[in-house]
């Protein structure tokens, strides 16, 4: 099942075609250590946060922190979009926020270690609103000795 826009149901494809994508000068990919020596963070854009944290709002470019030990039962989603499936997340939080999978890859020696804190943005942000938050976040990641970010959309 190859899901190019041309092969999707028309109404879904049209919605996705209307989303304006930002354009940037190419960013060179950085070289780094082998995976077995890397420290990995998960950064979701699913609008996830702990129950009781501030919900995301339209135009919100900020992020929420999700400590690695946060139980799945504490995670809720306040993404503003209604155009993606949420039943998968309801069934299994790792489908969207694969923290247990990362833990397993660390345990079996594939990945060096995992960050102490993980993050979620809300993907419908205007990129200019998220940029300063992302730049600030990069400094925090370095302080946590993170040298690889897995960006997980929704």
């Amino acid at each position: 099942m190859v899901r190019r826009l041309s092969e999707m149901p028309e109404v879904e494809a049209n919605h996705l075609r209307k989303i304006e994508c930002p354009r940037y000068d190419d960013t060179p990919a950085l070289s780094g250590k082998p995976l077995i020596e890397r420290r990995v963070v998960i950064i979701s854009t699913a609008g996830l946060h702990r129950r009781g944290d501030r919900a995301f709002r339209p135009g919100d470019g900020s992020y929420r922190v999700i400590p690695a030990e946060t139980p799945a039962s504490e995670l809720v989603m306040s993404h503003i979009s209604v155009n993606f499936d949420r039943t998968g997340f309801q069934q299994d939080a790792n489908l969207v926020f694969p923290i247990d999978r990362l833990r397993e890859l660390v345990a079996d020696g594939t990945v060096g270690s995992m960050a102490t804190v993980h993050y979620s943005f809300m993907g419908a942000f205007p990129p200019a609103a998220a940029e300063p938050h992302a730049e600030h976040l990069a400094g925090l990641l370095k302080a946590d000795k993170v040298d690889a970010a897995l960006l997980v959309p929704v």
């Binding site: 099942m1 899901r3 190019r4 826009l5 149901p9 109404v11 879904e12 996705l16 994508c21 930002p22 354009r23 940037y24 960013t27 060179p28 990919a29 950085l30 070289s31 995976l35 890397r38 950064i43 854009t45 129950r51 009781g52 919900a55 339209p58 799945a72 809720v76 979009s81 209604v82 155009n83 993606f84 499936d85 949420r86 039943t87 998968g88 997340f89 309801q90 069934q91 299994d92 790792n94 489908l95 969207v96 990362l102 397993e104 890859l105 998220a130 940029e131 992302a134 730049e135 990069a138 990641l141 370095k142 993170v146 690889a148 970010a149 897995l150 960006l151 997980v152 959309p153 929704v154």
Partner: protein, 233 residues
């Protein structure tokens, strides 16, 4: 999502992003992406399938070794649509005239919702901080003309949607997610309430109400129901 790849990599953090829409990633050109053909909302592919999810993760993380950017790796595994072999039968005949109100419907679902929590060990309800009865009253009042702030309404709606979909996941013969969403939008008081609320929000003078009504209330796939006769909310 692709934008974050640029922002972080420029600041010295190597990134690999999962891509759900290849056409978007081809425009944004983040440093590295793994394109998957999974449904929106399911970036790791299959719920409750750790080996599958681990393979996706591993493929993504292994691409970190590459520096030939902008890079898009095509993930080789796909997920077939869930087959609907059962057909969904709602055991309590929601959305029929015997149920007098949205709040009554919410109350009737409580026992199923409790079963769903017991089965899953968790719930994703809890953005608004309201009880489901309070959330239902908020929506009934909005329909009667008392529109609360858009954010308050949106959080209540998100919680109720999660409540309905989680409750229906343990109905006998619940069927695939698509059948449950058809039920939510086509057969419940809640779905009817959303469809009735849409024109009120779109016609409001408040800009946030308009955004909610026009963009973030009714999924693109359900908009065909607008303006058609439906069960009263």
């Amino acid at each position: 999502m692709g934008a974050l790849g640029h922002f972080l990599e420029r600041q010295g953090i190597p990134t690999i992003g999962i891509s759900l829409v290849r056409e978007h990633t081809e425009v944004v050109r983040p440093p590295r992406a793994l394109w998957v053909t999974f449904e929106l909302g399911r970036p790791l592919g299959r719920p409750d399938d750790p080996p599958f999810q681990r393979r996706v993760m591993k493929t993504a993380l292994e691409a970190l070794a590459r520096t030939d950017s902008p890079l898009i790796v095509d993930y080789p595994e796909h997920v077939d649509e869930e087959a609907d072999l059962t057909g969904m039968s709602c055991p309590i005949q929601l959305g029929t005239p015997e149920i007098s109100s949205l709040v009554a419907e919410i109350d009737q679902l409580a026992t199923w919702y409790d079963r769903a929590i017991a089965a899953q060990g968790r719930t994703t309800v809890g953005v608004s901080g309201l009880t489901m009865e309070e959330a239902g009253k908020l929506i009934s009042n909005a329909l009667a003309g008392e529109l609360p702030p858009a954010q308050t309404l949106k959080e209540a709606i998100d919680d109720l949607k999660a409540y309905y979909l989680e409750a229906s996941s343990v109905f006998p013969g619940a069927g695939p997610a698509k059948a449950r969403k058809d039920w939510l939008w086509g057969e419940t008081k809640f779905g009817a309430a959303m469809l009735a609320l849409q024109p009120k929000l779109a016609a409001s003078d408040d800009a946030q109400h308009k955004i909610l009504g026009n963009l973030t209330l009714i999924p693109a796939t359900e908009r065909f129901r607008l303006g058609k006769p439906h069960a009263t909310a």
